[in-house]
């Protein structure tokens, strides 16, 4: 087990290092001068020189890279080239919107995919099962922005139940209003991610239903459904956990699009604005933070899977 944790941790560090190099290089191989790009076409030479100075562009690439990474390790994500504010504090502030949104979306997605995925497997080959997996297939093809617009039309414009956009200025000091403004965005992501997840749950359940212990339980007098619900669900839950790591990436993309759709002041909306402003130092750190989240959660999911699943433990022993 210790060996597994060590190797998994090492792989995570290696992954983060490779990711940081790739992100750094992607923003350095620009057509032309980085400082010129950031400053814009109508900038004065003095402003361009100031930007070059502040970015340390006059120094060799490896020096620049290690200064950036050194700062990251101390929790310093650099300063915005446009506004000068520290990136770390801005991310921390916007995370108050993005993290609850992502978490809520995931819960909604799981609440949809779990029961309906198992139901789709149990009703396989019958009309109900066909309708369930067919709608999941169709929903997974829906662009998240369109789903959001349709929900806004129904629940904000027609029914007037939930706000169509924005986040309360008071933030979480008014938890009711904050939650209300996150509900429709979270349902948007949750439905689409849930549809994608439903198909995994369905095939995981089908896989478990084909296993010997379900047949044994059925032979001992349980119904197949009863056997699955009492003995099979832990195995299904395990496969869902292992898929969640992949789902995180989709969840992040969903928040970027949905935050723009609902004008929520989160990390995704900030990233889109920073790309527009060519604020390269901010974009660089933001993309790394988002990638790090995906990599870290992927590793955690692996470790949890290994800790919980007795079969996987035996393999290492």
């Amino acid at each position: 087990m210790t060996r597994f944790l060590l190797s998994r941790g090492l792989l995570l560090v290696l992954g983060l290092a490779v990711a940081s190099v790739l992100i750094f290089l992607a923003l350095r191989f620009l057509p032309g001068d980085v400082a010129q790009v950031i400053a814009g076409t109508d900038a004065t030479p003095a402003r361009i020189a100031a930007i070059r100075e502040s970015l340390g562009l006059d120094r060799p690439l490896p020096v620049q890279y290690f200064e950036w990474v050194g700062g990251l390790l101390r929790g310093d994500l650099g300063n915005s080239v446009v506004t000068g504010t520290p990136v770390a504090s801005e991310i921390a502030e916007k995370a108050q919107v993005t993290l609850p949104l992502a978490l809520l979306s995931m819960l909604i997605g799981l609440a949809i995919a779990g029961p309906l995925g198992v139901a789709a497997a149990l009703r396989r080959g019958r009309p109900a099962g066909f309708v369930l997996s067919g709608s999941a297939q169709a929903l997974a093809a829906v662009p998240v922005i369109w789903a959001g617009m349709l929900l806004v039309i129904v629940f904000s414009l027609w029914l007037g139940w939930l706000p169509a956009q924005g986040f309360p200025r008071a933030g979480w000091s008014d938890p009711g209003a904050a939650l209300r403004s996150l509900l429709l965005p979270a349902i948007t992501i949750g439905i689409i991610e849930g549809a994608a997840l439903l198909r995994f749950v369905r095939s995981a359940t089908l896989g478990v239903m084909g296993q010997d212990f379900i047949r044994t339980a059925a032979a001992a007098g349980r119904t197949r459904t009863g056997a699955l619900l009492t003995h099979g669900l832990p195995s299904v839950a395990l496969s869902i956990v292992s898929v969640l790591g992949i789902q995180v990436a989709g969840l992040l993309v969903g928040t970027v699009l949905v935050e723009n759709l609902f004008t929520l002041p989160g990390i995704g909306r900030m990233l889109v604005a920073d790309v527009g402003n060519r604020d390269l130092t901010k974009v660089q750190s933001e993309v790394l933070v988002l990638t790090a989240i995906v990599l870290i959660i992927g590793t955690l999911v692996d470790v949890i899977h290994r800790l919980v699943d007795p079969r996987a433990r035996e393999v290492t022993a």
């Binding site: 990711a19 790009v37 297939q137 662009p143 169509a164 095939s203 790309v275």
Partner: protein
């Protein structure tokens, strides 16, 4: 041709084929003819309800939404085909490097694939857009990288299996070089998997284009695109809510068609794999 006729008898595959055919015809027709000029604005025709003349109605500046969608299919086809080509090249190169080279190169490529898998397509596209500015090329390159890695991950073990087979050993013994083995034994064996993956990859490309054009980093301002149309119509969602229905519906049907085409191709080329659903879904 037997594979193709089996695909025609596969309901999902047939649906996918029809969607792709309609999309190609729409894009082709729009090159020479649209019912109205898609970019012509006329303030006297604002927000017309759907009629025979304007099947999907008109938008805030009097443009015919049906013509805009017809013309927008060109961008969709361009991005889908461009991404499929790019992803195929990236994927096969990475897979070949990860399967054919010395051990330390192979292992490094495997780590690289694992890391790149963690980058969502949209994030790669945003990174490229920050450096190069938004464009359709950025969308194509981003999907090529992210889906190419996916193809590499799926085909790499397959290539290694083929290389370890006895008939490859026999081919080697009879003096056929690495290139010949690659062309005559490896490519034919992995082609079905790659084609299925490419179909799913095109679905992802359509979603990615819609998302990025919606954010303003995809199609340029004067080019009709489904994602751009969605963002333009969203501004007036309070005035004419149902107009956003059309572009979203065509994106959904296109993505569904490409996903189902991939499912159909998978079932037709390898019936043993018919159960697990792995086509592109959720967010790009």
């Amino acid at each position: 041709m037997s594979g193709f006729s089996r695909l025609l008898r596969h309901p999902a595959g047939l649906f996918g084929l029809i969607v792709v055919a309609v999309l190609l015809v729409a894009a082709g027709v729009s090159l020479v003819w649209t019912p109205h000029d898609p970019v012509f604005t006329d303030s006297t025709r604002r927000w017309l309800a759907p009629t025979w003349e304007y099947p999907f109605g008109t938008d805030n500046s009097g443009r015919d939404i049906f013509s805009l969608i017809l013309a927008g299919s060109r961008v969709t086809v361009l991005v889908a085909v461009g991404s499929a080509l790019g992803a195929g090249i990236v994927g096969l190169l990475l897979a070949a490097f990860g399967a054919l080279t010395r051990r330390w190169v192979r292992e490094s490529v495997a780590v690289l694939i694992d890391v790149l898998i963690a980058f969502p397509t949209l994030l790669i596209a945003m990174l490229l857009a920050a450096a190069w500015g938004g464009s359709l090329l950025v969308v194509i390159v981003a999907v090529s990288i992210s889906f190419g890695v996916n193809i590499a991950r799926v085909t790499r073990p397959e290539i290694r299996t083929v290389l370890a087979a006895d008939y490859v050993l026999a081919a080697r013994a009879s003096g056929i070089g690495s290139w010949g083995i690659l062309r005559h034994h490896v490519l034919p064996n992995i082609a079905p998997i790659v084609i299925v993956q490419l179909s799913w990859g095109m679905a992802l490309a359509v979603l990615a284009e819609a998302g990025l054009s919606y954010l303003g980093y995809g199609a340029p301002a004067d080019t009709p695109s489904w994602g751009r149309l969605l963002s333009e119509l969203q501004t007036y969602i309070g005035i004419q809510p149902l107009s956003v229905f059309w572009p979203g519906a065509v994106i959904t049907v296109t993505v569904l068609g490409l996903n189902l085409l991939g499912d159909g191709l998978r079932d037709v080329t390898d019936p043993t794999l018919s159960e697990p659903a792995t086509s592109a879904g959720g967010n790009a």
